[in-house]
């Protein structure tokens, strides 16, 4: 029983990490229907920024977060204006290729600037562990889970209560109609991409405390994030959280109970899930209409 609860706790924590990673992508994919292959690289950029802030400026990760979010938003805006908007009307392969080019570019720049030596960010809470009733979780990971939930709340508020958010939802539902009623689609898209990127950068900063990273850490995260977004259903941000928990729990169960190859199976499971779910229920497990939070 003890093991069971621990596995569940680990699964939820892992799910928190995945959710945080994937929420930005869910936003972008939901609103713009664009595949951003550079998502993982934005995460890594966030990680390096956090690492630098601590190493050279002595600023703790949590303190640096607001600045990082702003930086992420700006980067996202610029990237989408220059690279994504021009290729939106074209076949789906184009955004894919252009973001892949961006990813390669970022990897190259990071390698030149930082070399391939692995880094890990030291935070005030790096070594802290939460121990309750005999169950242990690392604080750094709990922080990610909390951040994911807070983020969900913020995004929900944003999408439902603000004018910009509602404009985004409208555009996601019907781009031409949105244009007709006077919504500046280009700016909305840039804002959406900015928000998505800001989220990714923040996520990267938080995760950089928990494990080592190097310029080529990105692709794996991109893939995982996409799996989560697809499972959660396009456009439903809460669905992303649910899907992330789902995947986190499955992985945790497999790696916790299956001897020897459990962890490998856990990794395969997420991918197999995507295939099976798409084959059976193309809209994802937790899908709802339109973009909601």
């Amino acid at each position: 029983m003890h093991i069971f609860i621990q596995v569940v706790i680990d699964g939820v924590i892992l799910g928190g990490f995945y959710a945080l990673m994937a929420q930005g992508l869910s936003m972008i994919f939901g609103i713009m229907r664009v595949i951003n292959l550079a998502h993982g690289e934005f995460l890594v950029i966030g990680a390096y920024l956090a690492w630098m802030a601590q190493r050279y400026l002595g600023i703790d990760v949590l303190m640096a977060l607001p600045i990082l979010i702003v930086v992420g938003f700006a980067v996202g805006w610029v990237v989408s204006r220059l690279l994504i908007i021009p290729v939106l009307e074209r076949p789906e392969l184009m955004p894919l290729l252009i973001t892949f080019g961006l990813a390669a570019l970022i990897q190259g720049v990071l390698t030149l600037v930082f070399t391939t030596t692995p880094r890990i960010t030291t935070a005030s809470y790096s070594d802290s562990v939460l121990a309750l009733f005999g169950y242990r979780v690392s604080v750094a990971k709990v922080v990610m889970l909390i951040a994911a939930i807070v983020l969900l709340g913020l995004l929900a508020l944003f999408l439902n209560r603000t004018k910009a958010g509602k404009a985004m939802r409208a555009t996601a539902e019907n781009r031409e109609a949105a244009r007709i009623v006077g919504i500046d689609v280009t700016r909305i898209y840039c804002a959406a991409f900015g928000v998505g990127t800001a989220t990714a950068v923040a996520a990267g900063a938080l995760f950089s405390v928990t494990q080592g990273f190097y310029p080529f850490s990105g692709p794996l995260f991109t893939l995982k994030a996409f799996v989560i977004v697809i499972l959660g259903g396009r456009g439903r941000i809460a669905g992303t959280l649910a899907a992330a928990m789902f995947v986190g729990l499955i992985e945790s169960a497999l790696s916790g109970y299956v001897p020897n190859v459990g962890t490998g199976l856990g990794t395969a499971a997420a991918f197999i899930l995507v295939v099976v779910v798409l084959a059976a229920r193309p809209k994802g497990i937790f899908q709802l209409r339109g973009v909601t939070a």
Partner: protein, 361 residues
């Protein structure tokens, strides 16, 4: 070079058109034939083995990107996990040769059949998916396959890999891939002009409309998917034999997808010569960059790709064929006619790309 249009009647124009087309086709075929003959004697011209390897690699990628083009470029179902067939084909040969001691030749058709069977199995449910969902599902399949091959140690030897006893014979593989490339490109040429091929293009353009007109899209999609998988699987089998050592990381490479996607796109999706030209240009450019740039390779490569997508998404062949209606053409026209009111590129509502009303789905 533009001759002025003088007093030509419409029938005159048609006659000239027809003979011009036949004329060009004849010329084109003659050129292609000359190229084939020329390439087939290259090994005897005393070039070194590194050149042979480079060329046979180009031929191999011509086959791979053409094969990918069949499903992704012709039919419009962009396959992000196509590398799974390459890997499966390679492992079929690997297991049969390394573990069961079969000679290489018979394993290739077996690998092809296996890949086609896999395509049939997954294609049936997955080809029902529209747009990006099919792509991601295939990607998931690719990643799952890699993990599973890694775990299934009794069968595949997992990370230890399989060693295929084979001779390093550059000339043999040169001809193997060369003949393969000729066959596949010829097939593509036929496909482009056949009813089958036109139906596939119709599916890409407007699948519902095609179905409404009585085209059996399911059968067509599955057929081309299995065919494409079989070709890719055979190439995987041959390459495994050439490399002499395979493991899950080598056979299910992340870079596979992006390579075929770039080559096919650079050349021109849905065209015959697109994959050929795209493969040649991409590989030559990449190799030159790699040899000379070293550490900034990724940066240059990334920029190259971005520029390609922004300014030449129809690919080289596509841009040549459709001239003015391409992004580059419009851009040049816009620059030439600077000052006069013109089509706004950022909202190409009336342009060639199909405008999709984004709806709930």
């Amino acid at each position: 070079m533009i001759d002025p249009v003088t007093t030509l009647s419409s029938t005159d124009i048609e006659r000239v058109e027809r003979s011009a087309r036949g004329f060009s086709r004849y010329r084109l075929l003659a050129l292609a034939l000359a190229g084939v003959v020329g390439l087939s004697v290259v090994p005897f011209l005393g070039v070194n083995d590194s050149v042979l390897l480079t060329m046979s690699t180009i031929f191999m990628w011509i086959i791979l990107s053409s094969s990918w083009n069949f499903i992704s470029g012709f039919t419009g179902y962009v396959d992000f996990g196509h590398g799974v067939f390459f890997g499966v084909g390679g492992y079929v040969t690997g297991i049969l040769v390394a573990k069961l001691g079969l000679p290489f030749a018979p394993t290739v058709p077996i690998a092809a059949v296996f890949s086609a069977a896999l395509a049939l199995l997954v294609g049936y449910p997955l080809l029902r998916l529209r747009g990006v969902y099919f792509s991601i599902a295939m990607l998931g399949l690719f990643l799952a396959a890699r993990e599973l091959v890694l775990i299934a140690k009794p069968l595949t030897a997992g990370a230890q890999g399989l060693i295929l006893p084979s001779e390093v014979d550059r000339v043999f593989f040169y001809y193997l891939f060369f003949v393969g490339a000729v066959l596949v490109v010829s097939f593509a040429w036929w496909l482009r002009r056949s009813q089958f091929g036109l139906s596939l293009l119709a599916i890409k353009d407007d699948e519902y409309g095609a179905e409404a007109r009585g085209v059996n899209t399911t059968v067509l999609k599955l057929t081309v998917f299995c065919l494409s998988a079989a070709i890719t699987g055979s190439v995987g089998a041959c390459w495994a034999y050439e490399v002499t050592f395979i493991d899950p990381g080598i056979m299910f490479r992340d870079s596979f997808l992006i390579n075929v996607a770039i080559m096919a796109t650079l050349g021109g999706l849905g065209t015959v010569w697109g994959p050929v030209i795209g493969s040649v240009v991409f590989l030559l450019v990449r190799d030159t960059l790699w040899a000379n740039q070293g550490s900034s390779f990724l940066v240059v490569f990334g920029v190259f790709l971005i520029v390609l997508v922004l300014f030449m998404p129809e690919g080289i062949v596509g841009t040549i064929q459709r001239g003015d209606r391409t992004v580059l053409g419009r851009l040049i026209r816009r620059l030439r006619h600077r000052g006069s009111s013109h089509v706004d590129i950022s909202h190409p509502a009336g342009a060639s790309a199909s405008v999709r009303i984004v709806t709930n789905d």
